[in-house]
């Protein structure tokens, strides 16, 4: 048994838009945005939702290196996870392109599409949004 999502081609296919494009759902009743899009608004229960793009940059609120990694493939250990605040919604996702010693100083991250899964009975190679540190330092900012 491999990582979650492994082996199911239909599951990867139906999730491709929110997973590749970072789109959320905005509730037309209460105005709140959530990610990934659900059947009904988790805040007020309304079914009247519209798909909206989410900001691709956000603040890194928390992070961890997961050493107790699922599956049999230990080559990718550790997985770095982050809790990211995009302003209109918060997201838990993998972080990428960052060294462990850099993480405590990372404040701002941006979305990129990366591979998350390369196993499973059907040879599925799954991609999804990950976040990396914003590369260019803001002039006059705190980096």
């Amino acid at each position: 048994m491999n990582g979650v999502g492994a082996g199911s081609l239909p599951r990867w296919w139906r999730n491709r838009i929110p997973r590749y494009r970072l789109v959320g759902a905005k509730c037309k009743v209460c105005g709140r945005i959530h990610y990934p899009p659900r059947e009904a608004c988790p805040y007020c229960g309304s079914r009247d939702l519209e798909i909206v793009p989410l900001p691709r940059r956000g603040k890194l609120l928390s992070y961890t290196h997961v050493f107790s990694v699922p599956g049999d493939n230990r080559l990718s250990t550790p997985i770095i996870l982050g809790l990211v605040d995009l302003g209109s919604a918060k997201v838990i996702a993998e972080l990428t392109d960052v060294l462990p010693e850099e993480l405590p100083n990372v404040k701002e991250v941006e979305a990129v599409v990366r591979k998350v899964e390369e196993q499973g009975g059907n040879g599925v190679i799954g991609y999804a949004i990950k976040f990396r540190p914003v590369l260019q330092a803001t002039p006059g900012g705190q980096g």
């Binding site: 997961v66 107790s68 996870l81 838990i92 993998e94």
Partner: protein
């Protein structure tokens, strides 16, 4: 309202039972509970199990367990509600008895976590989280808890060392619990310097992977059961946001706040078994239950407020999920076994004596659902 009484309890010591199947573990606990109650048949068997559907693997588990127990005349219902499966099963049993659809119900909780190596088991455990959201990534069993733990330490300026008193307290309690998996003492220093699972969580902040089964017999009070141990006063539940990233404050366990409100608060609770799969969840629960101010629970734990000689309710005399162990769907049934015996005065582990009111609390994952049960002494 019909009174519902716990009349029999049984539990298997949690551990790596490579030689025992889910059915064998269930039988060991269930037969002990039936013997203690002094009965040989029940109307219903409610089976709580979460990981069996992936680990053993077996579907329609309740019927197979019930027939392997030799209770083929009983009706069987299976309940899967993740880490809260045991209290969900108690809810079903309680309703069956209160509605007079049953006079006697056996609740059996059972799960194995050692049929596969730890890597595949972490794949299964991460499914306790939302598979369409955060569990799309390889978060494992500890990733989300680790994100919340770091956020908590940063926001409230809590020293990592202060939080380590919780696992140390749990191990001190488990030493006295005959069915605990980890019956040895640890120091707070050892927790902090332990192997990282998902930093800042170390191995000693996390529940061990172990197999277990626990069972209780429940009977209607108006049928004058032979061996009354404790009364079940209320069973409640609440669901929360599917993931902590959807909460306004990821550290606010809103499902715990709701379930505690629904069950009537914590006033008068002498002893409780709460859900400490990871240290951070124990701390957040104590705060959501109103037993500690935000950011202050670790300090209260370190000062001994929830210990045997403390002023607060005694927390997790079993040793908690941390040290008694956490065979996912079985865990809540262990809590009822332990609390019923404390209230009946038949508990050989840590207790203060004279406990009148007991609370069991559990959450799934980071609080996607929460359940609670109140028990009182007879």
């Amino acid at each position: 309202m019909k009174g519902v009484i716990v009349t029999g309890t049984g539990a298997v010591r949690i551990g790596r039972h490579y030689e025992k199947s889910v059915r064998a573990l269930a039988a060991e606990a269930a037969w002990k509970a039936l013997d203690e109650a002094g009965v040989d048949g029940v109307d219903f068997v409610v089976v709580a199990s979460s990981l069996s559907y992936l680990q053993e693997p077996q579907l329609s588990l309740a019927s197979y367990i019930t027939s392997s127990l030799g209770l083929g005349g009983a009706r069987a219902i299976g309940v899967e509600s993740g880490e809260t499966s045991g209290l969900a099963a108690l809810d079903v049993a309680y309703s069956l008895l209160q509605s007079e659809k049953a006079s006697r119900v056996l609740v059996v909780g059972v799960d194995k976590l050692t049929n596969h190596p730890s890597g595949p088991t972490y794949s299964m455990l991460q499914l306790l989280h939302d598979a369409e959201a955060e569990a799309y990534y390889k978060i494992g069993h500890a990733g989300v808890a680790a994100l919340l733990f770091r956020l908590y330490l940063d926001r409230y300026n809590v020293e990592r060392a202060t939080t380590a008193y919780w696992p140390a307290l749990m191990h001190a309690h488990a030493k006295e619990n005959p069915h605990a998996m980890l019956r040895f003492a640890i120091t707070p220093e050892k927790v902090v310097s332990g192997m990282p699972l998902a930093d800042p969580i170390t191995l000693l902040d996390a529940y061990p992977l172990g197999d277990g089964a626990a069972a209780v017999v429940l009977e209607r009070e108006d049928e004058h059961p032979k061996n009354p141990l404790a009364r079940v006063v209320a069973v409640e539940s609440a669901i929360g946001m599917p993931g902590p990233q959807l909460r306004d404050d990821p550290l606010d366990l809103e499902s715990v706040r709701t379930v505690i409100q629904r069950i009537g608060g914590t006033d008068g609770v002498d002893v409780m078994e709460i859900h400490d799969s990871f240290t951070i969840y124990a701390l957040l629960e104590l705060e959501a239950m109103g037993l500690a101010e935000k950011g202050k629970s670790a300090e209260l734990v370190a000062e001994g407020y929830f210990s045997k000689d403390g002023e607060g309710p005694l927390a997790n005399p079993s040793g908690g999920l941390k040290a008694r162990g956490h065979p996912i769907g079985a865990t809540d049934v262990y809590k009822i076994v332990e609390l019923a015996n404390i209230l009946a005065g038949t508990w050989s582990g840590v207790r203060r004596g004279g406990e009148k009111r007991a609370l069991a609390l559990s959450i799934n994952a980071a609080g996607s659902e929460a359940r609670a049960a109140l028990l009182e002494a007879l």
